[in-house]
Structures are given as C-alpha cells and as structure tokens.
Amino acid sequence: MFRLFISNSEMSTSDRTVLWPFLRRILTFLFPFILIGLTMEFALWKTGDAWSPRSALIHQQQSTTESIYGPRFFSDQFNIFKLSGIRYRQPSILSIGSSRVMQIRDMMFHPLEKEFYNGGGILRNAFDLHTFADILTREELPLPKVLIVGIDPWWLRTHYGKATWLNDSDGRSSFAGHIEAFRQILKKGAFQQVFTATSSFKSPGFGYDAIGTYARIEGTGFRKDGSSLYPSKVFREFVESPVYVDRESPAIIDRIRKTKREFSLPATIDEHRVRLIIEALSRIKNKGVEVYAFMPPFSEEAFEALEDSQALHQWWNYYKHKFPKILEKHDIFITPVSNPAQFELDDRYMFDGWHPSEVYMGHLVKRMIEKSPDSSYLKNVRLKNLTLSIKNAAIPLAFKRPDSPTAAGLN
C-alpha cells in the first residue's frame, strides 16, 4: 500500500499544481477578514474582555488595591465569574439574587469584610435558585454560614423564565460569541472605546484597577467583594443635579403602568415556583446555613404604582403579604419588601425603580442584622461602623464620592 502512494505521486502532483495556487487565492480573499479578526482579538485581550472569567477573577482578587471587573463583550460570563468568586473567597456571609442585591458590600459587615462575597446577578428566577441549591447542597460550592437571598416578585409568577439560566456558558469560548463581540464593536460605535480601553488601566471616577472595556471606559463593574459599582457618569450627574431619575430603560414605573416585561399580564402566581423557592431555601437551611430571605425594595413611585395596579393586584399582594408568611411558617427569616419612605429616605436613594443605592442597602442590612437572632453569626458584625458610614454617606447614592481626576466635577 505504501508503495502505491509513492509510485502514484505523479497523479497527486498534477492536482497539487492547481490546488496550491487555488488555496493561495482563497487565503488572499480571506486575508482582510483574518487581519481584522486578529486585530480585534488582540484589542479585546488587551482590554481584558477576552480574559477567561476565572483568570480575571484571580487577577482581581490578587490585586492589592480595589479592582473592577467590567467586560463589555462576552457578557454571559457573569455566572462563571461569580461562581468562581464564591469558590475563591469561600465567604462566611454570601448574598445571592438578581442585580437588585448587588449593592450589599463587604464594608457593611465590619469586621467580617473578608468573609463576605456578593453573588448578586446569578439568580434570575425560581429555577436558578433551585439549581443554586443543588450546587450548594452537593457542596460543589463552599457552604457559607449565612446566606442572604434576594427574592424578586417575578420569581413567583407564571410566564417568567421557563428554565434556569445558571449555567457555565461563556461566550468567549465559542466562535459565535466572538462574532457577536465583533458585531457589537462595529455596530454600536464601540470601536473607539475598545481601542481607548487597550491603553487605559484605571477606572474613571474612583481610579480603581480596571479589567474590561466597561470598567475602563465607564468605571462600572464588579468590585473584589462581588458588589457592583455603577458607572461614574451616574454619580457625576447626580452631583450636578441631585434628583431621582429612573435610569432603567424602559423605566420601571412605565413597565408597571403598561404591564410590560416583568409586570406583564396575566400576572398569576405559579404555585410550582413558590414550592421550588421554599424547597430550595429549606434544603440550604438543613445543611446548617442561616438563611435570610430578603425582598429587595422598590422606589416610592414604583411601590405606589404596584399598590394601585388592579391588573397586578393579586400577584403583588401575594408577594407582599402571603409569601412572607409562608416563609416564616418554614422558619425562614424574611425582610419584607420596602420603599425608601419606610426608612425615612426618599427616591434619591434609588438608582432606579428597583435598584437601591448602597446607602439604602446599608439601612436594609442594618435592619436585617438587628433583627437576626442572638445566636446568628451576623451578630459578630459591629453595627457602629455601618451606622457611621450611613450617617457620613457622601451622597444618597454612595458612601463615597468618586475622587479620580477623570470624574469631572466631583472633586
């Protein structure tokens, strides 16, 4: 057989004489694509967007100063990033939920700052919580002593998410993810931002170490403790005009009034999802973890709109009144849904209709700790520091003002 290969090599040589020029022509055709692709990849790597979430996390955690992780592209890496963060930090106090718990910060738990991690953003529905409970009870994640779980009202309703989002998907590892990133760079006019981010290593506003285009250009991303830092522009605008603005698009108040998205109709309770939540929390509790369920707040205007809405009445009332009682019946500590007025604050303490500022979140955490049983691990927290931080908060949105020279108008 081997001889045949040699003796007939003439046949393939004639093919090759035509084949190679053809391949060269194909390469010539593809050259612009290859060149643009490699340039983009290099830029994305330089900004930190194309780093693996695990290596970005290690880089961040090993930084001696505060460091922000805020990639603009491959955004579906957050699950991996946060789960890696939990594994790395092995927190005694862990908060999880949607983006609405992301303002809980390590400094609120003094002197246990190092023992806290914010896993906010990984849970988007009841199925995610169920999956998280599976992972935690199988001890694939380190068991915390205290788990703070933010439960959103739409977790209880029908027609909101059909399955868990809590997977290991990483857009960076697929060709499709890179194509999508290139499209975003070119479509949204982000080209210049990306190339600026390749050479700028500090976040604007606070001047933290920054990994990723968003962190380097807008100053937004996850801190070392997993909590989220809003773009510096938000703080700058607030200093210039200290009024409440619903920064979500579309605004939460409009979503409620027009019954859109999370507030769409029919807003009915899904008993199965309610059971999933209770069962997940009970399982975690049975592993010896102190579970603190927490209903993230709404702005006063959003809260009022929810109270007034006839279409959402049944669902909202269930969430507000019946659900906390069910949790209490299962011995799960619950912090009920609130609005700023209940803490003698106003809507300036909200980023938008449903994201509280860190100052407002400080109030909520303080109340949670105060009401926790004497035997709770949370009683090791010195509330004096938190009270002082709240009292000395620079602006309603933040304890500290951005002081980097790049944060124009804030010095």
Partner: protein, 476 residues
C-alpha cells in the same frame, strides 16, 4: 457537525486538503478516505448510530450482489423483500413506532378501551430517512435490472455515507452517484470555485434569511391566539421563505461541498416559488425526493396507466400522502401531503401539469400579468399547506387557520423587519432564476465577483445568526 458550524469548516478544509493530496490511483484510497471522513462526520452526532448505517449498507450491498447473480424470479423477489423489510423495518422502528403506538392508544381510548401499549421513546438517527431511500433505490434498481451492482465495496459504502448529502440529501440514485466513485478524479478549478460559490450562497440563505425569519415564525405560530389575522398571514409567508431558505440552503451547501471533491449531486431546488402551477412547483421543490416517489411509489402503484381515471387520481393522492408521512410521524405531515395531492389534481384534470417546464419569463425581466397571477396563486396554495407542515398538531393548524379569519384585521402589523429578508431573497432569486444557482456569477469580471463574495460574507458575519440553529430537515 452541522454545515453552519465552525467545526464543519475546519473538518471540510482538512478533508479537502487531504483528499486532493492523496494519490488518485488506486481509486480505493480516496474512496476509503471519504468513507472514513463520512463516518467521522456522522459519528460526530452520535457514534452509536454508525452501526446502523453500516448495517444498512452491508445488507443492501450483499443483496445487490445476490440479486444480480440470481436468475430465479421467486428468489429475486425474496431478496428484494428482505431488503425492503430490513430498510423499512429500521426506518419504521426508529421513526414511526411511537407514532403508531400513540395513534393506536388514541383510537382504543376513543372507543372506550384501555390500552396497555408502550412507546420506545428512542432518538431518531439523523438522516435515516435520506440514506434509507438511497439504499432502497439501489436494490430496487438492481431488481429492475436498470443497474448492475458494484463489486467495489468501499465505493458502495462511500456512496451510501457520502457526507455532503448524508443527513438531508439530495437523495442520490446509484445510477448517478455511484459511477462517480468509480472514476478517477483530478482537481478541477472551475468546479471547485463554483462549489465554493454554492456553499457561500447556501450559508447566506440559511444563516441570514432562514435563521432571521425563524424567531418571527416561532413567535407567530406559538402565540397565534394573540396576533391579528394579517400577522398570521405574514407568519405563513415567513415560514414559506424560512423553510425554502433553510432546506435549499442546506442543499446548496451539500451540492457545493460535493463539488469540492469532484462530485456532482442532483439539483434539489430550482426556484420553486416562481412556479406557475402545482405541477411545476413539485418539479422544482425537493426534486430528488419528488422524483424518488415518482419512480418508486407512484409508478409501481400504476401511475397514470390505470383502468380508470379514479385509479390515477388516487395513485397521485396516495403518493403525496405517503410523501407527507415520510417527512415526519405526525398527522400534520400526512395532511400536508394529502393537501398537496389534492392541489396536484387540478392541473392533472386540466392536463396542464406537465406544461411550463422552462423557467418563468425566460429571456424577459418581467412576467406577464397572467404569469404573475399564476405565481401568486401557486405560492398562496403552497403557503396554506405549509401551515399544516409547521403546526405542532392538527388542532394547532386548525386553530391557526380559523384565527386568520376570525381575528382583528385592522390591527397594525408587527415583525415587519422580516419582510426585508423576504424581499431580498425573492429579488435575488428572480434576477438569477435562469442560472443553476443564484451565485453562478462565473461570467462576471473578477472585481465584481469578489465584491459580491465580500458583500455576502459581510452580510453573513453581521446579519447571520451566530448560534447554531439546526436545519429544519435534520428532524426528518
């Protein structure tokens, strides 16, 4: 490993380079290489089913040889029977068993009987309907003495599993494809270039047109109760274009891929939506399947040589109905086939079903008003039948159709962005309808050609769906 994936691009490039680097003599080397590549390609989905395709090939290869050597009519019939039983038995088991059991349970329950029947819930091996038909035609053609069997087992196995057309056709006849495995091939630059053009065009149709229309179609068909009538009509048109671009896109990629290796596959689509009647449509849509059913079902049933006209008509309707059932184990496909059979009767009754063999408005740009009317009429009929094809169940289809008439007709249209995709494909197809495929631009200057290639590649990169949206016909 789908044609619209990066892994396939890598696979194809590697196989292409290796294939042409191998000596062309003896033939067995390249054929063996193609066979291995095809088995890797198929095994990528689920290697467990490789045994099935090997069994299928072995049975028909052996039966083919025996059929040729046997003179006795009764023995030949027996051998053909064995081939039919094994091929259709495997297909029936994997594709139709659960359907028949569920249907039996439904029937028994409606007459008040409790059935204790169990379904198998087994996965349908991808491409089984296609390669089964290919091997069946091989033994039937040997039985009919239209071809002689090959003694070259490697060539035969490579013919059955040839990866470009393995999972969704075109369904090749041994008389057309098998001899190509038995001839020495040399690299043909023009053929390869045209193959690449056809791949590019197929990829464009799939990722840009079909995959972008798919979400609209899914939304409209899943929530038809909340959409007004015009939106449901729009959804039907979108699906007609989606399935055309999805399946013909696959066929273009399959034909183009085969051409890279010096093989010519059958044309499977010939601008079907510019057909002037149903007869013409079925000569232009999924041609390899239509002709298969004509040769191996319709003609054996008696075709048009029956004693009565009724026999002829019933043969037609039966053939279409079976063809519908071939698509999937669901009553919706049966009704779709039956409906097309009914449609087909009209030109048959008027004796016009064999008219219009040339492409519409040949040598002219615009069609005549009559031609335009005929094209619209055919498209409307076909699109209506597609509702059954797309619906999840018979009641879903009926609900959808009844909602078209009963719902609000003055509500504003949504999802109209999809119309741009519809317009784009129809305009390009119309301009190029006299060509073998729309990207047959070999006569244009190189600068123009490259500009067209770049535009298409950029459109694929910017508008094409990046996630893997499976080809619709993979489920069959």
């Amino acid at each position: 490993m789908a044609f619209n994936s990066l892994i396939f691009a890598g696979f194809l490039f590697t196989v292409f380079l290796c294939y042409w680097s191998l000596p062309s003599k003896p033939l067995g080397i390249r054929n063996a290489f193609l066979l291995i590549a095809s088995y890797i390609f198929y095994g990528w989905w689920d290697w467990h089913f490789l045994g099935l395709i090997a069994l299928n090939s072995t049975v028909d290869y052996a039966i083919g040889v025996s059929l040729h050597q046997t003179q006795s009519n009764s023995k030949r019939k027996l051998l053909l029977g064995v081939s039919l039983t094994i091929n259709l038995g495997i297909l029936g088991l994997f594709k139709y068993y659960d359907f028949f059991i569920n249907s039996a349970i439904d029937v028994l329950e409606t007459i008040g009987l409790q059935a204790n029947l169990h379904t198998l819930s087994i996965i349908l091996p991808v491409g089984i309907s296609f390669y089964t038909f290919q091997t069946l035609s091989y033994t039937i053609d040997i039985y009919r003495e239209k071809i002689v069997p090959t003694k070259n087992a490697i060539a035969y196995f490579a013919f059955v599993s040839f990866f470009p057309q393995l999972v969704a056709g075109p369904i090749e006849r041994a008389s057309h494809l098998l001899p190509q495995f038995l001839e020495r091939k040399s690299f043909n630059l023009e053929q390869t270039k045209d193959g690449l053009r056809q791949i590019l065009w197929g990829l464009f149709k799939k990722t840009v047109i079909a995959d972008n229309l798919a979400p609209y179609v899914d939304k409209i068909f899943s929530n038809y109760e909340v959409y007004p009538g015009p939106m449901l009509l729009l959804g039907t048109v979108y699906f007609a274009i989606q399935i055309y671009c999805d399946f013909s896109g696959y066929s273009d990629m399959a034909i183009g891929t085969a051409r890279l290796f010096g093989f010519n596959l059958k044309r499977n689509f010939a601008y079907p939506y510019f057909s002037r009647n149903i007869g013409e449509f079925w000569r232009r849509w999924h041609i390899s399947l239509s002709t298969w059913f004509r040769d191996y079902v319709y003609i054996p049933l008696g075709g048009n040589r029956t004693k009565t006209s009724f026999g002829h008509y019933s043969n037609l309707i039966l053939t279409f109905t079976i063809s519908g059932f071939w698509h999937g184990a669901n009553w919706t496909f049966v009704i779709w086939g039956f409906l097309n059979g009914l449609y087909y009767l009209s030109p048959v009754l008027r004796g016009t079903h064999t008219h219009q063999t040339a492409v519409v408005a040949m040598g002219r740009f615009w069609p005549t008003p009559l031609e335009f009317f005929q094209i619209c009429r055919t498209f409307t009929l076909i699109s209506f039948a597609w509702i059954f094809f797309r619906a999840n169940s018979f009641s879903h289809a009926i609900g959808f159709i009844s909602h078209i008439g009963s719902s609000n007709w003055i509500a504003p249209l949504r999802h109209t962005k999809g119309l741009w995709y519809v317009l784009l494909i129809l305009v390009i197809d119309w301009i190029q309808r006299e060509k073998h495929h729309p990207l047959d631009v070999s006569t244009l200057p190189r600068v123009t050609r490259w500009a067209i290639y770049y535009i298409l590649a950029i459109l694929i990169l910017f508008l094409g769906k990046t996630g893997h949206v499976p080809f619709i016909y993979f489920q069959f």
